[in-house]
Amino acid sequence: MLKKNEIKVGDTYSEKIVEDLKRTQIVQYAGASGDYNPLHSDDKFTKEIAGYPGVFAHGMLSMGMTGKMLTNFVGDGTLKKYGVRFTNQVWPGDSLESTATIVDIKEEDGETLAEITIETKNQDGITVITGSATAKVG
């Protein structure tokens, strides 16, 4: 858990959340989550029917990996809110780095909360996720 006297607005935390994303990890996510959309595992369908260059990651896999950075930063079981927009697709071979920034620290209903913005970028500096989170602070 973040400590009130150890954080300030503007603090950031970054983590590499995946290096050279493998197709197999995308399949793993399909199996665990139950989302078997062929766009994520079926190259033939994705190229010939959907018109994309090949399979790409579930948005929710990118959100899940970004969540790993987030919970490593704010601690387990402290999240009140976590939300994202998927701004660009994530492809096999991509390497992603995710950053959290504290933008506000406030008191609400007797709790101290940190408001956080989130951005995940690929190896070319393209933003694939923007988001925000609210976490309890100790």
Binding site: G31, A32, P38, D42, K44, G59, T71, N72, D76
Partner: protein, 160 residues
């Protein structure tokens, strides 16, 4: 009203945590009471939706992914089956956490339709957005997570 009844199980949490590459030991604890779930784990409630459209059905012959052909959909003549250029993508996902998910909980879901809107884009033509709000409750009817999902159907594949 969805028919989801999701038992929260430790092996499922373990598999989910592995799939997002998260080695946090809290996701792999031996004792049920020590386990917590990753923040996006509830998404896997799709496993427990009997009608989930992104899972091939046992004995079903209408799965739209490839077999011999690029789409397994039987041609209906309407031209609408199997996607084509208009494909649904996930645009946004938001969670509000009210209480922690616990191993042994049985979670039910109630889905409420939200707003819908349209937007023109350079990269994918006309975009049709639609929102749904899902309330996940435990076996005692207590609200655990509220999830807001925004889907988008693009006029053509997104240019990269």
């Amino acid at each position: 009203m969805s028919k989801i009844k999701m038992p929260v199980e430790k092996s499922h949490i373990m598999m989910f945590a592995r799939s997002i590459g998260d080695a946090n030991p809290k996701y792999y604890e031996e004792k049920d009471e020590n386990i917590i779930a990753p923040p996006t784990f509830i998404q896997s409630s799709a496993q427990f939706d009997p009608d989930y459209f992104l899972r091939p059905k046992i004995g079903g012959d209408n799965w739209f992914g490839s077999g011999k052909e690029a789409t397994g959909m039987k041609s209906s003549g309407s031209g609408s089956g199997g996607g084509g250029a208009a494909m649904g993508l996930h645009a946004e996902q938001h969670y509000e956490y009210h209480q922690p998910l616990k191993v042994g909980d049985v979670i039910s879901a109630e889905v409420k339709p939200g707003k819908s809107w349209e937007k023109e884009s350079k990269r994918a033509g006309k975009l049709k957005f639609s929102e749904s709000v899902t309330e996940y409750r435990n076996q005692d009817g207590e609200l655990i997570i509220t999830a807001t999902s925004v889907g988008v159907v693009t006029e053509k594949p997104v240019e990269n």
